[in-house]
Symmetry: C2
Subunit: 221 residues, 2 copies
DNA sequence: GGCCAATATGAATGACTGTTCAGGGGCTGC
DNA sequence: GCAGCCCCTGAACAGTCATTCATATTGGCC
């Protein structure tokens, strides 16, 4: 028998839906997020998703071309909203690279705590998309990384960052990757039952980020 | 049609094996690592794995009870070797918490660069194991995290670490998680074709780790 | 040569998959 | 009343899967 993650048989463990009140498209999206996050894209069947919103398998195809397109839809919407929020946060943080970095990390971590189901799916299930679709997502991820790199470059030029060097040279791209890995994967283990609130997580991670790049202390005002 | 990751049809793209010279068990393990890393456990079929080592599907069951047990086997062996290496590195690093932390991060990052296929499978495919098997792995991960926490506690007590605080209190467990996320996920993107060698990665990450916990500079000798 | 145990084969089993589609129900605007 | 449309159903299709098993084949040892 094909083994599944635990809980496979009782898909409708979550409150049995008679018929979702939301627009069906939204209900499908929500059910897909929840199921993909919990059990993984390839083992969640179309029947599972539709049952979770009180419909039968065929109805999916009135709203999406395929199971693949459903995944692509929910991942791209999540990813582009993330990119938008990051840009907005940096743009609204003033001129100091330290403030920009802190704003970026704060919004990024907060979002990955709050919307951890969405973030988890967008980061873990991307590999199931076909080449063309996956390229879009990767482009957006690279864009987010480059926001960080720009902040770092600016900070180094203005002497407020002194990042660790490799053999006497800066590798700001690698540092950005390290920082993003750290912040992204909060969505894999953070739970509201934990020790820290989302706000505290955001503060802690922003603090760590500033230390990582050797940010000079803010001048006393 | 069930969509798959690209390259699904030509499984034997890797040099067509007549019949592996190694012991068949080892050949199966190696093929499983490679295929799981590239395409993910649930879509890799028993036929794929066995074809990749020049056997037919039925032969798997002379060496493993099931596909599940094969996954469990390769993950636990990887994980316990990781735990062993971390303990060894810390034990051999002397008394200073800074040296212990650096040694831990160096070996951890180096391993995740060098054996990135194994690390990737152990970290990404763990969710397919059933409850009992997954508990083992999680226990080992917790043990590794607790090594870090102990180093932090020691360093704080001795005044060589000044980690970032949340509302005036230390949360060393969260910092350890952040550090581990950062170091673990190197295996998702590091490639030998990149800018940095494994050695340089290890140095850079050790440096970032020391900064994250506010390590005091080593006294001049 | 003869025997034994270990191992490989490949057809068969029973179940599950994404997707299609003919048929039907229940709205709107007239 | 009735068309027209949107949406849903559930059977059917053509495939896939892990696992089992009776039947070989192999290599070592007496």
């Amino acid at each position: 028998m094909t083994r599944r993650k635990p809980g496979r048989e009782e898909v409708e463990a979550s409150p049995v839906v008679e018929r979702e009140s939301r627009a069906p498209v939204e209900a499908i999206r929500a059910a897909a997020f929840a199921q993909f996050a919990e059990r993984g894209y390839p083992v969640v069947t179309v029947r599972d998703i539709m049952k979770a919103c009180g419909l039968t398998q065929g109805a999916l195809y009135n709203h999406f071309k395929s199971k693949d397109e459903l995944l692509h839809d929910i991942i791209t919407s999540t990813q582009s909203e993330l990119e938008r929020q990051c840009k907005q946060a940096v743009a609204g943080a003033g001129d100091d690279p330290r403030a920009k970095l802190a704003a970026f990390v704060r919004i990024y971590v907060m979002r990955h705590c709050r919307l951890r189901v969405e973030a988890l799916v967008a980061n873990r299930e991307i590999g199931w998309l076909d080449g063309e679709r996956v390229a879009d997502i990767r482009r957006s991820r690279r864009a987010i990384r480059d926001i960080l790199v720009s902040i770092f470059v600016d900070g180094v030029k203005r002497g407020v960052f002194e990042p660790p060097q490799v053999d006497g040279r800066n590798d700001l791209k690698t540092i950005a990757m390290a920082l993003l890995d750290q912040c992204t994967h909060v969505s894999m283990w953070y739970g509201p039952g934990g020790d820290l609130t989302e706000e505290q997580m955001a503060n802690l991670y922003a603090d760590m980020a500033l230390r990582m790049v050797g940010a000079q202390p803010f001048p006393p005002t």
